[in-house]
Point group: C2
Chain length 206, copies 2
């Protein structure tokens, strides 16, 4: 029995392209839609899987996923979009999606992700999987070297402790803690501790 698929994308060209691709590969395209509302109207309990764009004229893919999962928890969802931001992908998964494919990727990528998802696994387009998993551009990120003490203090700063509290905890003078903090601000080119924490997250130091 072939997989019953729904397609949601506001560009008719994309819808037709995906439809023909899927049907060529033995899938059954049950319905298509150009906007969120008609997609929810088209949605039937016998739908196995929905491919959905993220940007829609009357909402976004995250809302759609949430709503679909509420009505029909068994329906599988795959995000299908151009890539803008890792947080989009993460939010799709938070709202129930099991897969994510870039529009720019080829047929074999889409088919592979569908196969994975149908078998109960999560799958992300290889082009962005590393970015999504690691949460940032991993490449030249690791040039910054913090000392052991600096890392220790950085962690406590991230937990919201003041210099005084950190000093008490580590049996250090407030001035020592401030010195380490200042050094980290210089090393990471941060303008204050909030900025420092952000940079530390981006560079995976936390």
């Amino acid at each position: 029995m072939s997989l019953k698929i729904g397609i949601l994308d506001d560009h008719p060209v994309v819808v037709e392209g995906v439809r023909s691709l899927l049907e060529r590969n033995g899938f059954q395209v049950l319905w298509t839609a150009q906007d969120l509302r008609s997609a929810l109207n088209n949605l039937r309990a016998d739908t196995d899987l929905v491919l959905t764009d993220i940007q829609l004229p009357d909402g976004d893919g995250m809302q759609f996923c949430k709503e679909v999962k509420k009505r029909f928890p068994h329906v599988l969802l795959i995000g299908f979009s151009s890539f803008h931001d890792g947080s989009f992908v993460r939010n799709m998964f938070r709202n129930g999606a099991s897969g994510y494919v870039l529009k720019e990727s080829g047929e074999e990528v889409l088919l592979h992700v569908i196969t994975e998802v149908v078998q109960g696994r999560n799958a992300i387009d290889p082009k962005i999987s590393e970015y999504v998993i690691t949460g940032g551009p991993g490449a030249e990120t690791n040039r910054i070297v913090l000392t052991r003490r600096e890392k220790e203090i950085l962690q406590l700063l991230a937990d919201g402790l003041s210099s005084k509290e950190i000093g008490d905890k580590l049996f250090l003078s407030v001035k020592t803690v401030e010195a380490h903090r200042t050094n980290m601000l210089l090393k990471l080119d941060a303008s204050n501790v909030a900025h420092l924490i952000k940079i530390a997250y981006e560079k995976a130091l936390i």
Copy 2:
């Protein structure tokens, strides 16, 4: 030609278990090691793939990945461990790993991840893939709702701007910016802006 694999784990029982599993499935186990240093000594250019534990007597899997990728960039790496923390997994990928498998998972999971990795894709044990992708226990984490203005100010705070600078940028009084900031501190139960940024990252609000 069968895949040439190395195994690094400090428990001999695990090493032998994995070895027999792999050999039963047509792979060739080229070498095994119980610690980081001897693994690096054993490492040869004709190794295709290494399975590595995270906790090691003389270091950790992250260091190992980094070092392996530096010497032999073509060698594929798969983390193999019990699960403690999503940041371990993310850091393994940051340092060059392409896959991650839980020790508690069965044979078929390990074989599937190996297959994916060999074909050039990243793969994570399905048991933790959602957790790793979304960056947290997705369930009730998403109750926090920041308003548009708050998100806007949060982003600028993360970029290291002071309340005064944000006020200038958004044509707001310093007092207004401070009010929004205070509300976010209350909403996210943060003790200062540094803590706020950390929580925002954990909850994927940034």
